[in-house]
């Protein structure tokens, strides 16, 4: 039976920006609603200024929505800082993998320690040998090896760092995993490996993804459904393949047209 993992209800985010003494209102997200069912992947596609990253941060709890509701697994989502009693609960709801592999891992922590830290916090009732087994399991799941255990992030390549970040997010066994441009900073050949990994993990472990990206090809590859955002507003939504094969909104069409592919030529638009 499908349960709704994430329900975003009419969420808006307004930033108050002080510029030369005057306070300006920047509407980053304007009345966005969507939901994700268990086991599915929803992509939020958009370019810079679309608000897609802000939504991701609000669902994660790193930003507070100005208005609207965010419900994960039937429970409302709280923003950081969380009250003591709720920390484990909220951490188990949503986890996030960030864009920059170079700054999303603690540089002075080995991979093993970073996983141990999560396991100790979330499973204090378990013993050391369980933790060691679980770490091996997590590493294997993301395609890392035992030799990566005692290594610090600076020794790893971009792809390996992202895998480590994914494994740490999965260590908390979240109901929803947010991938915020998680493959955008990787080389093409490495990106393909990580995309394959994410797809495989989702089917193997029954995960639910919220996938943020500007790259239509990546979005098609990895998501079931998508919403297209432009300047804070949803302009199109539906099954990914349907939207991309037959876009209804002109912005979606413009995005499609702008992606380089065999036979493509860049088109000049009047300013």
């Amino acid at each position: 039976m499908n349960t709704t993992i994430l329900e975003v209800g009419d969420v808006s985010k307004v930033f108050h920006v002080k510029r030369a003494g005057i306070v300006d209102d920047l509407v980053a997200v304007d009345g966005v609603s969507f939901s994700i069912e268990q086991g599915r992947c929803l992509a939020i596609v958009g370019e810079s200024g679309s608000g897609k990253s802000t939504i991701a941060r609000m669902v994660a709890g790193l930003e507070k929505p100005t208005t609207g509701t965010i419900v994960v697994g039937g429970k409302p989502r709280g923003q950081l800082p969380w009250p003591r009693a709720d920390r484990r609960t909220f951490a188990r709801q949503v986890q996030m993998v960030f864009q920059d592999p170079n700054s999303s891992l603690n540089p002075s922590q080995t991979i093993e320690d970073s996983l141990l830290e999560v396991l100790r916090f979330h499973h204090p009732e378990r013993d050391g040998s369980w933790r060691q087994k679980r770490i091996s399991e997590l590493l294997e799941q993301v395609g890392l090896h035992e030799r990566h255990r005692a290594v610090r992030p600076r020794r790893l390549s971009g792809g390996e760092k992202q895998r480590a970040a994914i494994s740490r997010a999965l260590a908390a066994e979240p109901q929803l995993l947010i991938l915020d441009e998680a493959v955008s900073a990787l080389d093409v050949s490495v990106q393909a490996l990580v995309l394959n990994l994410l797809t495989e993990l989702r089917s193997r472990l029954g995960l639910t993804y919220l996938f943020i990206s500007h790259d239509l090809g990546v979005v098609r590859q990895v998501s079931d459904d998508a919403i297209v955002m432009r300047q804070g507003v949803v302009v199109e939504r539906g099954a990914t393949q349907a939207i991309l094969d037959d876009p209804e909104h002109e912005y979606t069409r413009a995005l499609q047209d702008a992606v380089p592919r065999p036979g493509w030529k860049p088109a000049r638009r009047a300013l």
Binding site: D187, V188, R220, A254, A258, P260
Partner: protein, 331 residues
């Protein structure tokens, strides 16, 4: 066949950079040429050495580097030019467009100031007219307003157009574009590339276009070269490299890219792209190549002619045309 001397000719370029007392080979024996009016795409991932190769053309390399080979612009070797001639080359004959226009422009000078930098030796009214024309060429009509603006007031795409206008004003004969649109949104990228390609054709200047995006390079170039671990693994006319790639790495680059029109499991290769100094004996791609044999691991292949392009692969002839299907089987 063209007997005309190429505008740019790189012969056996090798670059080693010293980091923390250790020499690191980053570009290994690169040779390529660009005719006047033609565009050459250089495609590669991290560590391929593509950026350094472009920088070498203007001798914009860090102090702690050793460079071998020759870089001939119109027959003159840039690497042994006197300072004054080099300065002239950089100011008038070659234009470089960087990935981030904001770091190449002084944030406290106006757009107008920036544009007049390259043509300081002309009289004032001529400078102004040149600037107005240049902005119009890149699709910016309201020149007067723009002259008074500062870089931070313009969006990334607009600023990149201004950059293109600025570097083209002195009338260079060769453009080096190093990932000029990587930091831009895809719709903006399309516009900026259209402007750049348009200008390149209209003015008949040569261009070296560096990018990690093979399809993007293919859209605006006549010839296409693919670099891996500091050397060229495949190079030839764009159409044939794109439609009939001969090197397993080129094929892998193309099959790794998810398409916007259909979903298939991505045919990938294991490992990660490496730099020249990380490579042992034999073919630099052998550790990741699903077709590698004993010979590949012992002996580095030379670029050889197959059809109308050149490939550095021992098994190219044998695998020709069948690489993709074999990759699918192996994935």
């Amino acid at each position: 066949m063209n007997d005309i001397r190429p505008l740019l000719e790189i012969q056996n370029l090798a670059i080693t950079i010293t980091v923390a007392r250790e020499p690191r080979l980053l570009v290994r024996d690169v040779s390529l040429s660009v005719q006047a009016g033609q565009a050459l795409g250089v495609v590669g991932e991290s560590g391929s050495g593509k950026s350094l190769t472009a920088k070498a053309v203007m001798r914009l390399l860090p102090d702690r580097s050793q460079v071998g080979g020759r870089v001939l612009v119109d027959g003159r070797d840039v690497l042994s030019l006197a300072r004054k001639d080099l300065a002239r080359l950089r100011r008038r004959e070659i234009a470089m467009i960087h990935q981030d226009p904001r770091s190449a422009m002084n944030p406290v000078r106006t757009i107008g100031d920036f544009l007049s930098e390259g043509v300081r030796d002309r009289p004032a009214d001529e400078r102004r007219q040149l600037a107005v024309d240049a902005l119009a060429e890149v699709g910016i009509p309201d020149a007067d307003r723009r002259f008074a603006q500062y870089p931070h007031q313009l969006s990334g795409g607009l600023l990149q157009r201004v950059m293109i206008a600025g570097v083209l004003m002195p009338g260079p004969r060769l453009i080096l574009a190093d990932e000029p649109t990587t930091a831009l949104d895809v719709t903006t990228q399309s516009e900026v590339m259209a402007v750049l390609s348009d200008l390149q054709h209209r003015r008949g200047v040569g261009m070296v276009f560096i990018t990690h995006d093979l399809d993007l390079a293919a859209a605006v170039t006549d010839n296409l070269g693919v670099m891996y671990a500091g050397s060229i693994v495949e190079i030839g006319p764009t159409a044939s490299v794109q439609t009939a790639p001969l090197h397993p790495y080129t094929v892998a680059l193309m099959t790794s890219r998810p398409s916007t029109t259909n979903v298939e499991p991505l045919k990938t290769i294991p490992g990660r792209p490496v730099a020249a100094y990380e490579v042992g004996a034999g073919c630099s791609f052998a550790p990741r190549c699903p077709f590698a044999q004993a010979l590949c691991r012992e002996e580095a292949p030379e670029l050889q002619h197959i059809g109308d392009h050149k490939v550095a692969c021992h098994r190219a002839k044998e695998l020709a045309g069948h690489i993709e299907e074999k990759l699918e089987v192996l994935s």
